[in-house]
């Protein structure tokens, strides 16, 4: 019976409303007092039943809930034969709950839509070579899958044959299709808009980038900020306090109507719902736009940031450096380049990749006794020669003499914005290479947007030489630039800024800079799918899209301000209602319930505005 009533709650609300309307019709049109009274009595009993059952269930588990307050108020109104009040209050409470559910579900829909984008099936190549449709859970790493036009890519994989355009909005928030050919990487949850491709599954299920995004967004939804935890604790005591207050007022004033009106007015709905609604809508907007915000506390911290520190390579620059200038000292160029390439093959540093790419085809030799010098480079033995490859500091450490000509070349290379790679053979400098990275397109404009959003300090910290970082800082209009920084130097610098009272966000690629990402008030990773980036940071910009950074900051500022607006609406409404009941004639239970429900809907609708947030010029909602 109980579950039947719960299931039919919406129909009960509708019938209750019809009974109230027919009561009013009997009163005003038919002037039939008996019909009027009985319509309201039946509406009260009918509408009050689900509320009373919920109140009973709440008391059974020792909770004084809103249902308990409303049930007592309705019973009170019924006993003093104020059937209009009891009927209208139950109807408004039920109808309000119905609207709240609908709008809250809509607010949560941004995240629900994302999880529903997860692929469910895949066309897998079976032993006989044919492709058969299977559940996505039945796909293992290494399986060959067929993806047809319009289908979702079921796993993270590599294209083996075919070509096409893929909409990667579910991963990056960017809906412009990306061209994919053989050897391209494809991601689960993205959609093949045209063409047909065969892929090899590299990561499946929860290990895919999309799987991790969903997990992170769900975890973000689950987390609570300090403000939310406070409001939860507050509401635990607030509702019983309202009940006690109403009882005391009833006892002292002997005015039952006033006592039950207080019960209705004191319901804490809007206050408790306001903050989480803003958070969930903010996180939802981020998830749709390639920004992963890991929880409500992150939103709060990020909105207050006044200093943003950037790693250079892969953050402000595209992270694909190329050799721009080269000077040889002495003969045997081919031999020296062979030594250099052999040593650089041992490293996965971006500069080493650039060197290898520039040298191209050469004869590699066996490398022995490799020693990586932190913040310097590599020293190794090749064919009995001691080869040192690295920066000026390494050369000094190796006692390699840098004559005046070399020093002039070094200075010139630095002024041109090059990172330096020097190669010495048996303590003698042989090659100086200048390697340059391109600044990401659009970064300058994005940094200006950050300034407009109130960020005072934009700082670059890099392991690169001072000349290069100064050039980048000048070009981008940064406030500070510091070169020759090791990862521990960067985190020490962040600690120093925090000690000075700055609220610092660190933006990096998350590979070398996890200490800084963890230490900063907000760690922001340029997440191109690396585990470290996603794990260590508080915010992830999917697909390393720098333009998402101003959006993320604008969104968190709007979300934080939206929360404050909701608290203001909720507290304001309770204060106005209480003042009205004490100092005015017009307040009664029905009006109180109407205003109470309206305030709940107002905070939900206000929170929902965040779902449509777009950064336009300055920080504003559209």
């Amino acid at each position: 019976m109980q579950s039947y009533i719960f299931r039919k709650k919406n129909q009960i609300t509708l019938i209750s409303g019809i009974l109230i309307l027919s009561g009013l019709f009997s009163h005003f049109a038919l002037e039939n007092a008996t019909l009027f009274t009985w319509s309201f009595i039946i509406a009260s009993v009918f509408g009050g039943a689900p509320i009373a059952i919920q109140a009973y269930q709440a008391l059974k588990v020792k909770v004084i809930s809103i249902d308990v307050l409303v049930t007592i108020a309705v019973i009170g109104a019924f006993l003093i034969q104020n059937y209009e009040e009891s009927a209208i209050v139950t109807f408004l409470f039920l109808f309000g709950s119905f609207l709240e559910q609908r709008t809250l579900n809509k607010t949560r829909s941004a995240i629900k839509e994302l999880t529903e984008m997860a692929p469910e099936s895949a066309l897998k190549q079976m032993e006989n070579g044919e492709f058969e449709e299977v559940e996505v859970d039945e796909v293992d790493e290494g399986d060959i899958l067929l993806v047809k036009t319009g289908a979702k890519v079921p796993v993270d994989g590599t294209v083996l044959t075919g070509k096409g355009h893929i909409n990667e909005a579910s991963i990056t928030g960017e809906s412009v299709p990306v061209s994919k050919t053989v050897d391209s990487e494809v991601f689960a949850g993205t959609i093949l808009e045209n063409g047909t491709i065969q892929i090899r599954a590299d990561r499946v299920g929860e290990d895919t980038t999309f799987g991790r995004i969903i997990e992170l967004v769900e975890e973000a939804q689950d987390s609570k900020s300090e403000a939310e935890r406070f409001i939860d604790r507050f509401s635990k005591y607030y509702t019983p306090a309202v009940l006690i207050l109403s009882l005391m007022i009833g006892l002292f004033s002997r005015d039952i109507e006033l006592a039950i009106t207080i019960l209705v007015l004191g319901c804490p709905g809007a206050l408790v719902i306001g903050v989480p609604v803003s958070n969930v809508a903010g996180i939802g907007n981020g998830a749709r736009n390639g920004v992963l915000l890991k929880g409500s506390e992150v939103i709060n911290d990020f909105s207050k940031v006044d200093t943003i520190v950037f790693d250079k390579t892969g953050t402000l620059t595209v992270g694909n450096p190329e050799v721009a200038e080269i000077v040889f000292y002495g003969a045997n160029r081919e031999e020296v380049l062979g030594y250099l390439a052999s040593v650089e093959r041992e490293s996965d540093h971006p500069l080493a990749k650039a060197v290898l790419q520039d040298i191209g085809g050469t004869t590699f030799s066996t490398v022995e006794e490799t020693e990586v010098v932190k913040g310097g480079g590599i020293v190794a033995k090749v064919k009995g020669h001691r080869i040192a490859v690295g920066n000026v500091a390494l050369m000094e450490k190796e006692n390699v003499a840098l004559n005046k000509n070399v020093q002039r070349d070094v200075e010139r290379f630095e002024q041109n914005g090059n990172s330096l790679v020097l190669t010495a053979v048996d303590g003698e400098l042989k090659v100086l290479m200048g390697i340059r990275d391109q600044i990401r397109p659009g970064v300058k404009q994005d940094l200006q947007k950050l300034k407009k959003l109130g960020v005072k300090n934009l700082v670059v910290l890099s392991g690169d030489n001072q000349g290069t970082v100064d050039l980048v800082a000048r070009e981008l209009g940064l406030t500070e630039a510091h070169g020759h920084m090791l990862p521990e130097g960067k985190s020490a610098y962040i600690e120093k800024m925090q000690a000075e009272g700055q609220i610092v966000a660190f933006v990096g690629d998350g590979v070398n800079d996890s200490p800084s990402l963890a230490l900063a008030n907000v760690g922001i990773a340029m997440g191109n799918g690396t585990d470290v980036a996603i794990e260590t940071s508080d915010v992830v910009l999917m697909n390393s899209d720098f333009s998402r950074l101003p959006h993320a900051l604008g969104l968190t500022k709007s979300t934080a301000s939206n929360m404050k607006q909701n608290i203001f609406i909720a507290v304001g409404v309770v204060l106005v209602l209480l003042a009205s009941v004490l100092f005015s004639e017009w307040m009664n239970m029905s009006i109180g319930m109407l205003v109470h429900e309206a305030s709940i809907l107002a905070v939900i609708l206000n929170g929902m505005r965040l779902l449509r947030f777009r950064l336009r010029g300055k920080n504003q909602n559209d």
Binding site: F6, Q57, V61, V63, D67, R108, Q221, S235, I273
Partner: protein
Amino acid sequence: MQKAIIQLETLSCPSCMQKIENAVKGLNGIHPDSVNVLFNASKVKVDFDSEAIAIGDIEKAIEDLGYPVLKSKVKSA
């Protein structure tokens, strides 16, 4: 020990969370500290002893309070 994530149709009132938390904590085989009712996600997370209680019993306790369960995911804790 099992970990359950129970997805509810909706959680629209703040006291719903307290009701569900208290009701689930009161069941046999439940680890009381593990009960977490999440308003934002309309979810209940709980660790339970599958030999003492079935997931269906936990779902029923929640549904009896008036909150329909959409689906549950159970995995080893």
